[in-house]
């Protein structure tokens, strides 16, 4: 099968080169049409994100198709093709399938498991479809790549664990509290990271949100931004006593929350856990509060430790995902080789069906008084004949595609049954190569 993928990504090309090649949607449409107009590439999809520019194509001569695609791309972007050459990789056939699956499953991403890439590929595919540069081969490839990506998401935990400090804090909160819905949050200070963590908690249903700041106006602004309530900084302990999660990120040089104050608070809480997310440096919460029962205090280093552990989990899950992708590639190659012979099977069927219909019509013309039963019997007889005759050649074609001899068999069938190789002319490169 003449399938190829060629391009560059965050590993092979520096950002300076990648940004030069990034193509926006309008230009991409133009580019897709230009590339297809050359006739060298039968089908083409171009993926352009900040971390990769890749051309997926089907062409008789992949080398030439690749060269054409990138020549056009370079011309569009005003880049010297020679500068591009060392950064380019090309994968053919099975390797191209493997690559497509890995990219869609986010195994080839800079941050393995990040979820955006799948959407980006879907967009690229939809764009190519709207430009009518997608044929059956790429259609099969991409729809399967989406299915594999989904399978990787559900069967491995590749995207499960937070890899940013603010998300790690949310994840920890969910390991303490079963449900974040209705958990009260207090944000102390006005650091960006604190606000981000608070936002994530709000997204998970945390409510209500309180904001405390030494400057009342800033507390007020932040509270409005988070749809929360500002509380006076002097009444910090009172506020801490009523909430479940405290995020601190002040610029104070001394802890604003001491072990003694927390110990006093905990007496009245009847075991309601209290979770401190201390993002400030120097720290806002005395580290020893963590020794109190039902109090969990994570400072920035502890959160980073969780992120590191999560990253190790991701690597582990990525290994499982790789194995899954390999299995899917093997399965898919079988299907794709079927796709190689399917146009021949279809035209063979059409040919015989055409003969059948014609002959039945002629016979019925000679039998004007034929009863509906006779007509039905003739239809059934002819259909059965065609199916019986087709059975062996179709089985053989399917088998041959799996053993890699599909091409010579499709040629033979075309010769024997006088089939036109119309499919090749209309969609260029797709179908049997006679």
């Amino acid at each position: 099968m003449p399938l190829f993928v060629s391009g560059l990504n965050h590993r092979t090309a520096p950002v300076a080169l990648r940004e030069q090649l990034a193509v926006e949607e309008d230009k991409l449409r133009e580019l897709l049409r230009d590339v297809q107009a050359t006739g060298v590439v039968g089908e083409v999809v171009i993926v352009s994100t900040c971390n990769r520019v890749e051309v997926y194509g089907v062409g008789e001569v992949p080398g030439e198709a690749r060269a054409v695609a990138f020549r056009h791309l370079c011309r569009h972007r005003g880049v010297d093709p020679a500068a591009l050459e060392p950064a380019l990789y090309t994968h053919l056939d099975g390797d191209a399938v493997h690559h497509a699956f890995r990219v869609a499953a986010s195994l080839d991403s800079m941050m393995v498991g990040e979820p955006q890439i799948l959407g980006q590929i879907k967009d690229a595919f939809a764009l190519a479809q709207s430009c009518e540069t997608v044929g059956p081969m790429l259609h099969t490839l991409f729809t399967q790549a989406f299915a594999v990506a989904k399978k990787v998401r559900t069967e491995t935990e590749i995207g499960h664990h937070a890899v940013s400090v603010s998300f790690a804090a949310v994840e920890l909160a969910r390991k303490i509290f079963a449900e974040l819905g209705g958990k009260a949050v207090l944000l102390v200070g006005a650091g960006n990271m604190g606000e981000l963590a608070a936002r994530h908690l709000v997204e998970q249903g945390a409510f209500p949100i309180y904001v405390a700041n030494r400057t009342w106006a800033r507390a007020h602004d932040m509270a409005r931004a988070l749809s929360g309530t500002a509380v006076p900084f002097d009444e910090l302990s009172t506020a801490v006593a009523t909430v479940d999660i405290v995020i601190t990120c002040t610029g104070a040089s001394e802890p604003v929350i001491t072990r003694d104050s927390v110990q006093r608070i905990m007496h009245g809480r009847r075991g309601r856990p209290l979770f401190f997310i201390d993002i400030a440096v120097p720290r806002d919460v005395e580290a020893t509060v963590n020794t109190l029962d039902d109090v969990y205090c994570y400072d920035i280093d502890a959160l980073k430790q969780v992120v590191d552990a999560n990253l190790r989990e991701r690597v582990r899950e990525a290994q499982r995902a790789e194995a899954l992708v390999e299995r899917e590639v093997v399965k898919f190659r079988t299907r794709l080789s079927d796709v190689e012979v399917i146009p021949t099977i279809v035209s063979l069927r059409e040919r015989l069906e055409g003969i059948r219909e014609g002959e039945v019509r002629k016979a019925l013309a000679r039998l004007p008084g034929a009863s509906p039963e006779t007509r039905a019997a003739m239809e059934a007889l002819s259909t059965a004949l065609v199916n019986k005759i087709l059975h062996a050649p179709i089985t053989k074609l399917r088998e041959s595609s799996r053993t890699g001899t599909g091409r010579s068999w499709t040629e033979l069938v075309h010769e024997l049954f006088g089939l036109r190789s119309a499919s090749r002319k209309t969609d260029g490169g797709w179908g049997p190569r006679v």
Partner: protein, 269 residues
């Protein structure tokens, strides 16, 4: 007939335990499915065995201590399967099934001579006593599993070094709730069961304790559970302290059953 079915069920529980532990470490979804399937199949066999035993003896499968423990195991596995589905605590099996296995090895593989409750011991109350105690014990197996998971998860969270348990075990709140609910479920059963046993012992043996090791230890276990429940309900105990008490209570319960199974006494061995 029921003996071979029981043995098959035990073999099934061994497989299920292995798979459940493998799932805890490996975290392959497929392993969980197999573990679930093995548990369900073994439980079905166990059911068949208990029914066959009941038909053969013409009475509930609670006639001797090993039989009752076997029935308790049956209830435990049923609850385990239900909680796994209901609460999505997929790792529960890894904590419950080893206990099931320990309880099964002595009781299912060799259910000793049945019909130990002789004519003198007759009466409906004795069956109610056994049935209630059985359900109570089953609830406390799950209580123990919940407490153990709580202790492990709490340690991970306090230690700030996430490991297998951090990723696998549910939230502390969920585990604390599970521990509380199983305690609240098991305690009334155990209490009424024990009271009936004591009253009955008083009339049949002439003394409430009658030097029966199981009866004596069971009151120790009951005392621990009573203290935990009182602490939870009145003094706001929860979390780690409640979990430690649950583990202690279960240890006492295991000693109780061990005493009943291995020491000579009126509960028979």
């Amino acid at each position: 007939m029921h003996l071979s079915v029981f043995n098959l069920a035990v073999v099934g529980y061994v497989c299920a335990t292995g798979l459940a532990l493998a799932y805890l470490i490996q975290r392959e979804e497929i392993v969980y499915r197999f573990a679930s399937l093995a548990t369900l199949a073994s439980w079905a066999l166990h059911t068949v065995g208990l029914v066959a035993l009941a038909i053969q003896t013409g009475r509930p499968p609670l006639g001797s201590l090993p039989e009752s423990v076997s029935t308790a195991v049956w209830v435990v596995v049923l609850l385990d399967l239900w909680i796994e589905r209901q609460y999505g605590v997929k790792v529960l099996g890894a904590f419950v099934l080893p206990v099931v296995l320990v309880l099964s090895l002595k009781t299912i593989a060799r259910p000793t001579a049945f019909a130990q409750i002789g004519p003198t011991l007759g009466g409906a109350w004795i069956w109610v006593h056994i049935a209630l105690a059985t359900v109570g014990i089953a609830a406390f197996v799950l209580n123990f599993a919940g407490a153990l998971m709580y202790i492990l998860q709490e340690r991970q969270l306090k230690g700030k070094r996430p490991g297998t348990f951090y990723y696998r075990l549910p939230a502390l709140e969920t585990l604390d709730r599970l521990t509380y609910r199983t305690l609240a479920l098991g305690f009334p059963f155990l209490t009424v069961g024990l009271v009936l046993g004591a009253v009955w012992a008083g009339t049949a043996w002439g003394s409430v304790f009658a030097f029966d090791p199981l009866a004596m230890f069971s009151f120790v276990a009951w005392g621990i559970y009573a203290a935990t429940l009182a602490g939870r309900a009145v003094a706001g105990w929860h979390g780690r302290r409640a979990a430690y008490f649950a583990v202690m209570g279960f240890a006492a319960l295991v000693v109780t059953l061990g005493a009943g199974l291995f020491l000579p006494g009126r509960h028979g061995s």
